[in-house]
Point group: C2
């Protein structure tokens, strides 16, 4: 049995969260991956998450069912067109239509519950404040406020004094830096999927904000994205 | 169409949340009730929530499906015996086995998402710090920290400046005071259910912590509990 401390890692199946999982393992944690079936338009990312959890040595991979479609209002869960081929200025201005209401708050709350029952004191989330695409719940002040709340929320923290830390190892990295970090740690980015609007076969569209940020990251790192594109 | 501002009200089907819903309506809000099918041992409380939402004038009643059983570890969701006939000193010492990991954090996160899509700026939750039965996520400092986090989490708050408030109108009231408040506002407590371990027909056991606190509240208010007991 591993005597390593456990860390809960939010794993979407994308490039950032895969890197985050590799970092948690590299830092000496036994990673427990958690993914969500949240009414997303496509399930390729859950298949990718399962492959990544295995390949990157997660001790457990939990898939939680939560229906965010009931809330409506996002291009990632509702029948609204995903924006394509937007210029960078357009991407960074305002909060995009692909925003899902309170998504990271809900995801982190589930991670908190899993951490408590697994007696883990660490949560890893691959949020990024450099090319974060405009989501408020990816910002450092949000993460700090969540961590503070979490330490008042659980029996583990309040009753037993097991302080919880939310780690955001990617928060100040560019996409190119994230890719270089992951490659050093053995991440196979061909297994990851970032596209908001893939083909039915799971090929990335190459034109949504997520694809454009990702392709730009590989280009800046002087590399070619190994993931399959349409 | 009502021009009243909307408020999201967490509605369990119990005495406290029913009172909370009546208070939100009395304060001029159009209440939007939210309940959870979270793997609880019995669904009588969801039936009670639906009746209460209708009787107390909720504009909408959303039931969100989330499976907290996957986390295990609580007598409210797992196959662990509910403690019975505990003395008051025993009840108030420590955090009980009926604690569900991060439950209010998860519930409030969903309420936050619903508030955002409904453009509500107010959430009501019936937590109580007097006879709160030992749950950390019912305490005032937890609620304050959640509210602070919530105001950094959403497009509504960060992008559009719609500040969110979490109201806890019961937090300093005794059970007897809650009951008297609700009766003035027309709550039919015969429609509510508080028991952790009811009979298959939905009759309250009268012996779990929740039943004992409730019966004591009615006794202190000089009243008889109209709910059906086994």
């Amino acid at each position: 049995m591993s005597q390593k401390p456990k860390a809960v890692v939010l794993l979407s199946g994308g490039l950032d969260s895969a890197t985050c999982l590799a970092i948690a393992r590299d830092r000496g944690f036994a990673p427990l991956a958690i993914s969500f079936r949240y009414g997303q338009r496509h399930l390729h990312e859950l298949a990718a998450a399962a492959r990544l959890a295995k390949a990157l040595g997660a001790q457990r991979h939990m898939v939680a069912d939560i229906d965010l479609r009931a809330f409506g209002g996002s291009a990632l869960t509702a029948d609204i067109a995903v924006p394509k081929d937007r210029a960078e200025g357009e991407m960074s201005s305002g909060i995009p239509i692909t925003y899902v209401p309170a998504r990271n708050t809900i995801f982190l709350s589930f991670a908190l519950a899993l951490a408590e029952v697994e007696q883990a004191q660490d949560i890893y989330i691959g949020v990024n404040a450099v090319d974060y695409s405009g989501y408020p719940d990816c910002r450092p002040d949000f993460i700090a406020a969540f961590e503070k709340m979490a330490n008042l929320a659980t029996k583990a923290a309040v009753g037993d004094g097991r302080r919880l830390t939310v780690h955001t190892p990617l928060i100040t990295l560019s996409k190119a830096e994230i890719i270089k970090t992951g490659l050093k740690l053995g991440v196979d980015y061909g297994m990851t999927t970032s596209c908001y609007d893939p083909t039915p076969e799971g090929l990335a569209c190459g034109h949504c904000d997520a694809c454009k940020l990702r392709l730009k990251g590989f280009a800046e790192a002087g590399l070619t994205d190994p993931a399959p594109y349409a």
